[in-house]
């Protein structure tokens, strides 16, 4: 824990035990803090002292309820939202210290897709123009090469170029728009694809199509994915590692199967048990979490989840728990983890 000069509160992060290190770390984040001003111009730490790293080829799911800071984190990883302190490095090159132009040069390496498929496409552009734009800006290849690339991308996301190329976004369904958005994000051949709640606005039957597509694209183009969602069930199949966030901090981070099989943080297990299961014989939710997340303007002292945690003790109020490894690859920030 280091004392940051300006902010009065201890610059407590929940530790760095979970960092994997090694040379194939693609993205390295250290003590990231992102603040924003609310309507009543108070400063709120949407992300307060968060560290993580990504290994090439993994899919890290970032899960949490509304207001936990996951979307802010996504934008901060891309430095579309500038962070107050802490560092984000892509293969050693810092995004946080980069100038506007240096940051711009790094853009093709990391791309993003969004929650509302329709509004992430400019209504005045045809599909060809949408996918061609990144190629044009970075003048990748001749006109013919760009044309071929557009057809290749459309085919790989399961759309027939002949049918779609000359039409506008409002002529497509949500699922199709998301496919176009994915094709655009792959045009520059990025290494990291950040997906901010990509399927939340879609119907169940269409969600599965997009989730499978993202896995195919990852294998085909050797991507590393960051998958932001509020739905633990949706991320299960897609993710290799899952990180659970609460009020701007990490509660637990583990390999996908271990986390669901044996959740060690009380919040993670409450989240899992609240998911409605499509099986009437399943025992109803054993442990319903009471209350709602406190307002981020004045988070509780020590462990932020203690106000709703069934196992909270005096210790939880005084000292913020640090992430520690309870079993291979499973890290929990809790003084009294579930066994």
């Amino acid at each position: 824990m280091l004392l940051s000069p300006e902010s009065d509160e201890l610059m407590a992060g929940s530790g760095k035990a979970h960092l994997q290190g090694g040379e194939n770390v693609v993205l390295d984040v250290q003590d990231l803090v992102v603040e924003y001003k609310t309507a009543g111009n108070q400063y709120v730490k949407a992300v307060s002292g968060l560290s993580l790293d990504l290994i090439k080829g993994e899919t890290l799911a970032v899960v949490g309820e509304s207001g936990c800071g996951k979307s802010t984190l996504a934008k901060a990883l891309m430095q579309i939202v500038r962070s107050k302190s802490g560092s984000v490095k892509f293969r050693g090159e810092s995004l946080t210290d980069a100038s506007k132009e240096e940051l711009r040069q790094l853009r093709p390496k990391m791309q993003m897709i969004f929650q509302d498929p329709v509004s992430s496409l400019d209504p005045r552009f045809t599909v060809t123009q949408i996918i061609q734009e990144p190629l044009e800006i970075w003048s990748r290849g001749t006109a013919e090469e760009q044309d071929a690339k557009i057809n290749e991308l459309l085919n790989s996301v399961g759309l027939d170029p002949a049918l779609v190329r000359d039409r506008h976004s409002y002529e497509f369904s949500g699922g199709q728009c998301q496919r176009i958005s994915i094709a655009r994000s792959l045009a520059l051949g990025p290494e990291i694809l950040i997906c901010d709640e990509p399927v939340s606005a879609l119907d169940v039957s269409v969600q599965a199509q997009i989730l499978n597509l993202l896995q195919d694209m990852k294998d085909q183009y050797g991507l590393t994915l960051v998958f932001i969602s509020h739905d633990l069930a949706v991320v299960k199949a897609v993710s290799t590692r899952v990180m659970v966030m609460y009020l701007g901090k990490i509660c637990e981070i583990a390999n996908s199967d271990d986390l669901y099989a044996k959740p060690r943080h009380h919040y993670t297990s409450a989240l899992i048990s609240s998911i409605p299961v499509p099986d009437p014989t399943a025992t109803l939710h054993t442990q319903i979490l009471q209350g709602e997340p406190p307002s981020p303007t004045d988070p509780p002292s020590g462990c932020r989840f203690r106000t709703r945690c069934p196992a909270a003790t005096e210790l939880c109020a005084t000292e913020e728990p640090q992430l520690r490894e309870l079993s291979a690859g499973q890290f929990v920030a809790c003084h009294h983890p579930r066994d």
């Binding site: 009543g40 111009n41 108070q42």
Partner: protein, 320 residues
């Protein structure tokens, strides 16, 4: 605490607008070729002329003249009204004589417009897209687009010149007989009210239609209470915010904006004083008139925000 600095920020912005508007005008007005000095000094020799110019305060540069003017304004003195021979009369007198008329006319116009617009807005919204709405809305649309002076001239011609029913010139204060007072004001108030009440009705109609689509109106209906009660208890209040804002903006505009109506009906209100001040190079007086309008504009904007705060608590505690 932060509610205070929200209000503080809003006030600083409005003050900036007030100072900006008046200073801008004082700069432009000073560009008037043929400065008042030529009009209002009739000394034979240079020395007397300089004395008279000094008396009129015309020797000051732009900034000091503005500073003096602001300093006087704060103390309620609207500055000198230039008279020939270097003497001056307090502009406050002229203001005291013309402002009450403009305020009165503005009040009548607002009352007339709102009393006609609210029922019309409610009716057209409630009967949206039916025959009655289509007819009235087209009429309202045409009404809201007709320029004020076109109405003034045509009404003036028909009722004044052709039918000799109503006087078209002059203003009669209440003291000199209520009947005459109102008779003289029918045409000016009508010319201003028709476009205003038409646009108010259209704003209210659009607002109510969007409120009727909200879930909480369906929720209210699902309680089994009568439609009229739903309309009054649940629909009217949340739909009044943009009407209040527009009405308050118009308050400010009405005071000065009636320049044309003042001129056509020779009412002697602030509008006419402004036109006269421009042609007579009374630029200190002009600054005060414009300041009055800007202050009114700001006053009514703040008033509107307060009223909306009462009507619609969402705006009040937005920081939850």
């Amino acid at each position: 605490m932060h509610k205070l600095n929200q209000i503080f920020q809003a006030l600083t912005k409005l003050l900036l607008v007030l100072v900006g508007a008046t200073f801008l005008l004082s700069l432009i007005v000073r560009l008037l070729p043929g400065s008042p000095a030529d009009f209002y000094t009739n000394a034979f020799n240079e020395e007397d002329r300089l004395l008279q110019i000094k008396a009129l305060g015309l020797d000051r540069n732009a900034f000091s003249s503005y500073a003096h003017w602001i300093f006087d304004l704060v103390r309620g003195d609207f500055g000198p009204f230039f008279m020939s021979g270097g003497s001056t009369r307090p502009t406050s007198l002229i203001i005291a004589q013309s402002i009450p008329r403009s305020l009165l006319i503005m009040l009548y116009v607002q009352i007339v417009s709102l009393t006609i617009a609210i029922p019309l807005g409610l009716l057209t919204a409630y009967r949206a897209d039916k025959a009655v709405d289509r007819i009235i809305s087209t009429g309202l649309f045409a009404g809201s687009a007709i320029p004020g002076f076109a109405l003034a001239l045509s009404l003036g011609y028909f009722f004044g010149v052709r039918l000799q029913l109503l006087p078209t010139i002059g203003y009669v204060p209440i003291a000199e007989g209520l009947g005459e007072h109102f008779k003289h004001l029918i045409l000016p108030v009508a010319s201003l009210s028709i476009p205003l009440c038409a646009s108010y009705a259209r704003i209210l109609r659009a607002e109510i239609i969007s409120t009727l689509r909200q879930d909480y109106v369906t929720m209210a209906v699902s309680k089994g209470i009568s439609n009229s009660r739903v309309l009054i208890k649940h629909v009217l209040r949340p739909s009044s915010t943009s009407l209040i804002t527009t009405a308050s903006l118009n308050m400010g505009a009405l005071i000065g904006g009636t320049v044309i109506i003042d001129q056509i009906f020779a009412l002697g209100g602030l509008g006419q004083q402004i036109t006269f001040a421009i042609f007579a190079r009374q630029y200190i007086a002009l600054q005060s008139y414009i300041a009055l309008i800007a202050i009114a504009f700001i006053l009514f904007t703040v008033l509107a925000d307060l009223l909306i705060g009462v009507v619609d608590p969402r705006t009040r505690n937005r920081n939850v």
